[in-house]
Symmetry: C2
Subunit: 186 residues, 2 copies
């Protein structure tokens, strides 16, 4: 996709800084640039992204809006395995015990939703309860576990409006991410 | 052209750093971003830029190539007044004496071409001769006077291949730029 002499980058500020942006420097600049190239090459009318990559979807939508790109971005719901693990090409790299452990990622997100449904609004307390779920499994190392505004991706102290609960972990050498959107106005 | 919440910028590296880039921080990032927006909004097939803004033309061409934008960039020759001054909307802001003095910008570029035609290749010596032409006029303050590779815009010590001789000056409050391309292979 890139000429050796490529000098041009599309960068979306702010939205690319938190969450995965903190742990993968330059990652989103690569994603936006290669998507801009691809959209131009195929003259895309519509492009589909997955909600599992929530930050990526938001960044691409912002790029398309900001640069007036003539296509529509549709974000598709996360597809899950029977135990809740988000479907990902990376899941195949998990050993059988790791694969079982990975189910606790979504369990922690379900815990979060239960707490919010029960009236919890303090994100620190909610996060602590989520950590308890994940820490039941020793193979998982948490990269981040954040409750953020769904539009700005900035951390919130108290839950209001629409929030994104996002998590990134490592199990062995495999990096997995997942998230849920919670809309308190519904 | 910009939403208040705009977060996306298109940036062309390296080519935007020398010449006008040194004196106008952020200028080319604004040019590339707003051109990307405009090209998308009107679904441009062709866009015409002027050779007078040589760096801008090169940067836009690079952006279009690097991002696979589906349009053609055509660079049009500089139009000149009878005394050689490059036509620019800014010329109207010159007083009559300043307008007369401004003719020495192109005179210095002509001097450069004469020296090269006569076999000169040392850019420092050529630059010194050009400065003598401009310094005959006290109202002109030089911002830069550079002899660079026409493709990379990097300064060259000895003239070879195709070079860009570029100049930016201030006359009073008016900033004027001009340039010539010299192709030694012709």
């Amino acid at each position: 996709m890139y000429a050796a002499r490529n000098l041009t980058w599309v960068n979306v500020e702010k939205l690319t800084e938190p969450l995965c942006g903190r742990f993968r420097p330059g990652h989103f600049r690569g994603v936006t640039t290669v998507c801009a190239k691809l959209f131009n090459i195929i003259a895309a009318d519509v492009a589909y992204f997955g909600q599992k990559d929530a930050q990526q979807s938001l960044v691409i939508k912002r790029m398309v809006a900001d640069l007036n790109m003539p296509l529509e971005i549709i974000v598709c719901p996360t597809v899950r395995e029977p135990d809740g693990l988000a479907v990902s090409s990376r899941n195949q790299y998990l050993t059988d015990p790791q694969r079982k452990d990975a189910a606790c990622i979504y369990k922690s997100l379900q815990k979060c939703r239960q707490l919010i449904d029960a009236g919890a609004t303090d994100t620190q307390k909610i996060t602590n309860e989520m950590l308890k779920v994940i820490n039941q499994v020793s193979s998982i190392e948490i990269e981040y576990l954040s409750i953020v505004d769904a539009k700005t991706l900035q951390a919130v102290e108290h839950i209001t409006g629409t929030i994104l609960v996002a998590i990134a972990v490592r199990i062995g050498t495999v990096r997995l991410i997942d998230n849920i959107l919670v809309d308190l106005r519904k």
